[in-house]
């Protein structure tokens, strides 16, 4: 009877293809939405991802993400370094600051202070230059951080630091090595332009040494936002994190834990995520609604055929099984097509080099499959009611 159910399903090709398209579109929408969401979240913890050598991140006990931070005093570094199992520990400093460009326009940027001695955490310049360029006096590495057109400098020399006021209408070009900026009225010299991981929310980044941060922001009493710790060989990051937290009283998280903390923080606190989620839920509801209605209509339009089967002697259980097989097969086929289309789209984004937050993670397709399966089976469950209540006598209704 299952074969008959499947033949009935494929019988009306146009209707079947319409149904498959509806389900595939829903699966695509759900998977794409979650991949998009995962892409954003991945950008949210980009700071953690780009510092691969940090096994453990140490921070103020009140900090739960890379986004909302408060600094610690410099003694934290010595405390952490004294914990057993620590191979080395380096500071990292984050500060938001306005950067003024040579023509007079300004832009909010994130100033990232790197350990002077090791330069750990410095992105590699793409032109093959050395990270030691950061040791040049007043040096900064500039990075778009997922933004477009925000790090710009005047094209012509006459518009650089003019004496007759700002030249805000001056033609611009992308910021490049050799350009100068003002940070809190201090000079900053761009010695490299890097392309590290894009951020969420997108923001321009300026990497510099911690000593330079202190020069730029002399009034701050605390500078260390995070201490990045590498574990000694044979020491598990989780064990070390626990030990650091117990010993120092600071919050210590492994890289993976800190990424998860950051995602959780965004889910709870970010208004952008809330808006995005609302939009996605709306889109998914429409997709699910269309799928459900199409499946319901499919069963409803075949009522006469079910009445014939009922008259012939098919039991309610047989008809239920047939309807659920039809729904499950449609859902799985549609989900497969939708998810494949989503994967293909992701691949297209990847190879085309588009700067689009798309990350195809396991929970995207899984939710896509489960979502359409649940909706399809629910629609099937709703549509069986008229089949069960069906009087097989309607097969005589041609009179």
């Amino acid at each position: 009877m299952y074969r008959i159910a499947l033949k009935m399903l494929r019988g009306d090709r146009a209707k079947f293809l319409g149904l498959l398209f509806g389900i595939a579109f829903t699966a695509f929408l759900v998977t794409f939405a979650l991949s998009y969401f995962a892409g954003f979240m991945t950008r949210g913890f980009a700071l953690v991802s780009e510092n691969l050598s940090a096994d453990v991140w140490v921070m103020d006990p009140a900090v739960h993400s890379t986004e909302m931070t408060i600094d610690m005093s410099e003694t934290v570094l010595q405390q952490v370094r004294s914990v057993k199992g620590v191979a080395y520990a380096v500071p990292l400093s984050l500060h938001d600051i306005d950067a003024r460009f040579a023509d007079g326009h300004f832009q909010r940027v994130q100033l990232i202070g790197i350990d002077d001695a090791t330069l750990a955490g410095t992105p590699l310049p793409p032109d093959g230059s050395s990270v030691s360029l950061l040791r040049v006096p007043d040096a900064v590495f500039a990075d778009a951080g997922g933004t477009k057109g925000k790090l710009r400098s005047p094209r012509y020399e006459k518009d650089h630091w003019p004496h007759d006021g700002a030249h805000l209408d001056a033609p611009l070009r992308d910021l490049s090595a050799g350009d100068e900026l003002q940070l809190n009225d201090r000079r900053a010299l761009v010695t490299a332009v890097t392309h590290t991981l894009p951020r969420f929310p997108p923001r321009p980044l300026l990497y510099t040494t911690l000593s330079n941060v202190k020069r730029i922001l002399p009034s701050e009493s605390r500078y260390i936002t995070f201490v990045m710790v590498a574990a000694q060989p044979g020491v598990a990051p989780q064990t070390l994190a626990k030990r650091i937290a117990e010993t120092t009283g600071f919050r210590a998280r492994t890289a993976e834990q800190f990424k998860a903390d950051t995602v959780r923080w965004y889910l709870v606190n970010s208004e952008d995520v809330g808006d995005m989620t609302a939009m996605l839920i709306l889109a998914m509801t429409v997709g699910f609604g269309v799928t459900g209605i199409m499946l319901y209509m499919f069963t409803y339009e075949n009522l006469k055929q079910y009445a014939v089967l009922k008259a012939i002697g098919a039991s309610d259980r047989m008809l239920l099984a047939m309807i659920f097989v039809q729904a499950s097969v449609s859902a799985l086929l549609g989900a497969f097509v939708g998810i494949a289309a989503c994967a293909f789209t992701g691949w297209g984004i990847e190879v085309s080099g588009l700067d689009y937050p798309f990350r195809f993670m396991w929970f995207g397709p899984l939710t896509g499959i489960l979502g359409v399966l649940v909706v399809s089976l629910t629609a099937a469950a709703v549509s069986v009611r008229p089949v069960l209540k069906l009087e097989p006598g309607i097969v005589f209704s041609e009179h």
């Binding site: 009877m1 074969r3 008959i4 033949k7 009935m8 399903l9 494929r10 019988g11 009306d12 006469k304 055929q305 014939v308 089967l309 008259a311 012939i312 002697g313 098919a314 039991s315 047989m318 009087e391 097989p392 006598g393 097969v395 005589f396 041609e398 009179h399």
Partner: protein, 235 residues
């Protein structure tokens, strides 16, 4: 072969309530014999479809008794009624009601598959039965690819494939031309004899009355008279 296989007594059935109540059957009493082709004829709305729906265990009567093959059908449980239909009854419908997505062979195999027979065996039996109705050359055709007369032949094969004791035909020739209608009725009579089956035909197509053994004339929910068809007429 004069055993009574269907016996109804004072069968009543109504639809609706209050002022809208319509009496579809008013004390219908009828005996049908084994291997008999009984026609139930009458104008539209006279109650003949309601009557055969009750005989086919598709509808419950309000009152009276209805015994088929020694079973009190209206008082069977839900599952027993399904089993009764599955094993003992074959249906032929006016609109053929073949499943459009299935081949003719698969359509005919459906009653056997419903009974739980293995697909290979069911398909083999279906092919044999289609051969009995002269459709052996079109096993893989779809219902949309054959004529009305051929569809009714396939419907008869489907009604017959599980060797039922009773075949209920609802206006089997109404959608067919004269020649096809006669051909279908000849086939039914032949199969009735070879398969030793009882056949009930609901119709108002007077061109086929000659194929009956007896004709029950119905009107206004009652059987007015039962006519025995002479051999000359049924020849």
């Amino acid at each position: 072969m004069s055993d009574v296989v269907i016996r109804t007594k004072d069968l009543t059935k109504s639809y609706g309530t209050g002022d809208a109540r319509v009496m579809a059957l008013r004390s219908v009493t009828l005996d049908v014999l084994h291997c008999e082709l009984m026609m139930i004829v009458g104008p539209s709305g006279c109650g003949k479809t309601t009557f055969v729906s009750i005989l086919g265990a598709l509808l419950a009567p309000d009152g009276g008794t209805c015994e088929l093959f020694g079973l009190d059908v209206p008082h069977l449980g839900h599952k027993a009624k399904i089993l009764f239909r599955r094993k003992r009854i074959g249906f032929v419908f006016q609109a053929f009601n073949l499943l459009p997505a299935l081949t003719l062979q698969e359509n005919v195999a459906v009653p056997l598959l419903v009974q739980g027979m293995a697909r290979t065996e069911a398909m083999k039996r279906a092919a044999e039965t289609l051969g009995q109705v002269g459709m052996e050359a079109r096993l893989d055709a779809l219902p949309s690819q054959i004529s009305g007369g051929q569809k009714q032949r396939v419907a008869i094969a489907r009604a017959l494939v599980h060797r039922p004791q009773l075949i209920i035909c609802d206006e089997p020739t109404s959608n067919l031309d004269h020649e096809s209608g006669h051909s279908v009725m000849k086939l039914l009579r032949r199969l009735m004899r070879t398969e030793q089956t009882t056949v009930l035909v609901v119709t108002h197509d007077n061109r086929i009355f000659g194929f009956a053994d007896r004709i029950a004339h119905m009107d206004d929910g009652k059987i007015l008279n039962i006519e025995t068809v002479t051999k000359e007429r049924s020849a």
